[in-house]
């Protein structure tokens, strides 16, 4: 595949103004699906656990005679989300059929909303790394159902190109979704990639705060399509846009927006035109590739869903849900910063890594704020970086808090705890299970430590004399030898104490 020509980012911004738009799909964590009483796989810990085609009913397969019925909890969640996005809630909202022939849905249409979405005209406050606030205008948030998953068989790369056939699992078909669509976002200039990342991060923070979605991007609970177009600086008319799909981490949102700006600028600068199309983001190659030409909305032949009745939320229901909204993220940030006692820099470090929710949940699970921050922005972020993914979602806050507690109780040293973190991330079980199976407990048995100290002193008999002469740092050699013998599973501070006691006896 030919590499795209790219213009230098700064040069591109000198000539063109990027205009952004985002469509974010949020899988709701209801007990059942949007229109059927099948269990919702997006709610469990492991959507794959039950095996393919196990979470389906005749409604999800669109079998003759089956009828969809709206999940009340999904409607309540959608209204809450609409309110949290600052939207107006429709007095009357209805579903529509979006017709397309592709086997990810068995009915040949997706039940969505078209002309009467549940929520519309909102605004989200987004905070950038340096504290700048950008207001992102929201066009609408509508309810719909997710589609099934296709596995392409026979292609060299597992993608559809070259595939001989596809296998379909309808477990995800019918999972409740809210699609949040922004209006065009103007004036972001060179900060466009950063605004994209911060916006999706803000949506993630909002839905997690509401407790209506697991919002794990790596599992597809929250998915982002990024629209980018360029127009010459000072021009009125919008340029042709592309819609980049499959942008499934905060980091990818930033990279994909930056890539599209550079790619489109190179085409426009060479006198070419942008093709209106969907593009796919490839995390591994850090580039986008052309997908299908974008269908006109006409081709979906939307029409009101005859099987479902309109949803008309009462003013009482809307006010009840409004009253139950959690703090807005901006307010929450100010409160957390005060509660945790972090400096500006420490707090920004957490917020900019997209780890506010993780640290808050780790603290709620019992860890000290400083410890929660240290582990998330330290070891966990390091592992995430090495694996080019986001730290959020790698490990559960409860597990991190358990590991912090083990270090505080002296069951683990920092070094052992880092091994436990990595093993938990690799799916070896809970921290307690990893400690047991790998035999990582700190040796706190003084007699075992004393034996190791004696052995080390026998090799370096002059050390005790040096310590007695006031050269306490000489103990380091013995501590090192003991740690080596204990394969790191000794508490260095305790070993030091025991050596000093020995020197005084």
């Amino acid at each position: 595949m030919p590499r795209d020509a790219l213009m230098d980012f700064d040069a591109a911004l000198e000539k063109y103004e990027p205009v952004l738009g985002f469509e974010v799909h949020v899988e709701l964590s209801t007990a059942t699906k949007m229109f059927s009483d099948a269990p919702n796989p997006a709610t469990g810990d492991d959507a794959e656990a039950a095996g393919p085609n196990t979470a389906i009913t005749p409604v999800d397969l669109g079998l003759p005679g089956s009828l969809p019925v709206v999940n009340e909890t999904a409607v309540r969640y959608s209204i809450s989300l609409g309110l949290a996005l600052g939207c107006r809630i429709a007095e009357s909202s209805r579903f529509a059929r979006k017709n397309y022939f592709y086997p990810d849905l068995a009915k040949n249409y997706q039940i969505s909303q078209y002309d009467e979405p549940i929520a519309f005209e909102g605004e989200v406050e987004v905070e950038l790394e340096d504290g700048t606030v950008v207001r992102v205008p929201i066009e609408r948030a509508h309810m719909e159902e997710d589609a099934g998953k296709l596995t392409h068989v026979g292609g060299a790369t597992g993608r559809i190109h070259g595939a001989e056939y596809s296998l379909v699992d309808y477990n995800r078909a019918g999972v409740p979704l809210v699609e949040i669509v922004t209006k065009p976002i103007y004036g972001t200039a060179e900060r466009a990639p950063e605004v994209g990342r911060a916006y999706v991060g803000a949506i993630r923070e909002i839905v997690r705060g509401l407790g209506i979605s697991q919002a794990r991007m790596e599992r597809g609970n929250l998915r982002c399509d990024a629209n980018v177009s360029l127009r010459p600086r000072g021009a009125e008319k919008l340029g042709t846009r592309t819609e980049t799909k499959n942008v499934n981490s905060l980091r990818s949102v930033e990279r994909a927006v930056r890539y599209e700006i550079r790619r489109q600028a190179a085409i426009l600068d060479g006198g070419g035109t942008i093709t209106q199309e969907t593009r796919h983001w490839h995390e591994d190659r850090g580039e986008t590739s052309a997908g299908r030409p974008k269908s006109d909305a006409d081709d979906y032949r939307y029409f009101p869903e005859p099987d479902l009745l309109p949803v008309e939320p009462s003013a009482e229901l809307i006010e009840e849900l409004r009253a139950a909204l959690p703090e807005a993220p901006a307010v929450r940030r100010r409160r957390l910063k005060a509660d945790w006692g972090f400096t500006d820099e420490e707090f920004r470090d957490v917020a900019n890594s997209g780890l506010l929710v993780e640290v808050a949940e780790t603290v709620a699970a019992g860890a000290a704020p400083a410890q929660a921050r240290k582990w998330w922005t330290g070891e966990i972020a390091r592992i995430a970086n090495a694996r080019t993914t986001d730290p959020a979602g790698l490990i559960s806050p409860v597990h991190v808090s358990e590991i912090v507690a083990m270090v505080e109780n002296g069951e683990l040293t920092d070094r052992l705890a880092r091994q436990v973190v990595e093993a938990v991330i690799d799916g070896e079980g809970s921290p307690a299970e990893v400690v047991t199976t790998r035999g990582l407990q700190v040796v706190s048995d003084d007699s075992a430590l004393t034996a190791a100290i004696d052995a080390a002193l026998a090799e370096q008999p002059d050390v005790l004399a040096k310590i007695r002469d006031g050269k306490v740092q000489a103990a380091g050699a013995i501590i090192g030898a003991v740690m080596k013998q204990m394969r790191g599973q000794a508490d260095a501070a305790r070993v030091r104490e025991l050596i000093l006691e020995r020197a005084q006896s």
Partner: protein, 99 residues
């Protein structure tokens, strides 16, 4: 007269993934045109004071409690599938149409 043209029928057939011969396209252009014209007659009697309606029943807010019910077994789900493999429905590869 309706706006149904042979090109529109060809386009719709493409969207619906139905292969039509030229003779079928000619026949359907006429038939679909007649259907559209017949339905359009409704517009002639609908005056400005008749609101558009998608549901003839005056009911709203019919909801279901969020409680899981029985599901199909994979075998039952796949019973009507022309082809299946590894508990999944097997379908032809369709290029370039990922939604």
């Amino acid at each position: 007269m309706s706006e149904i043209t042979p090109d529109l029928v060809r386009h719709l057939a493409g969207l619906a993934r139905i292969a039509l011969s030229d003779a079928e396209i000619q026949r359907l252009t006429g038939e679909l045109g007649q259907i559209v014209d017949s339905v359009a007659k409704v517009s002639e009697v609908a005056t400005a004071d008749v609101p558009a309606t998608s549901h003839p029943i005056p009911l709203t807010n019919v909801f279901r409690d969020d409680v899981p019910g029985p599901t199909l077994s994979p075998a039952a789900a796949l019973a009507g599938a022309p082809e299946a493999e590894s508990d999944r429905f097997k379908v032809s590869a369709i290029l370039g149409e990922e939604q």
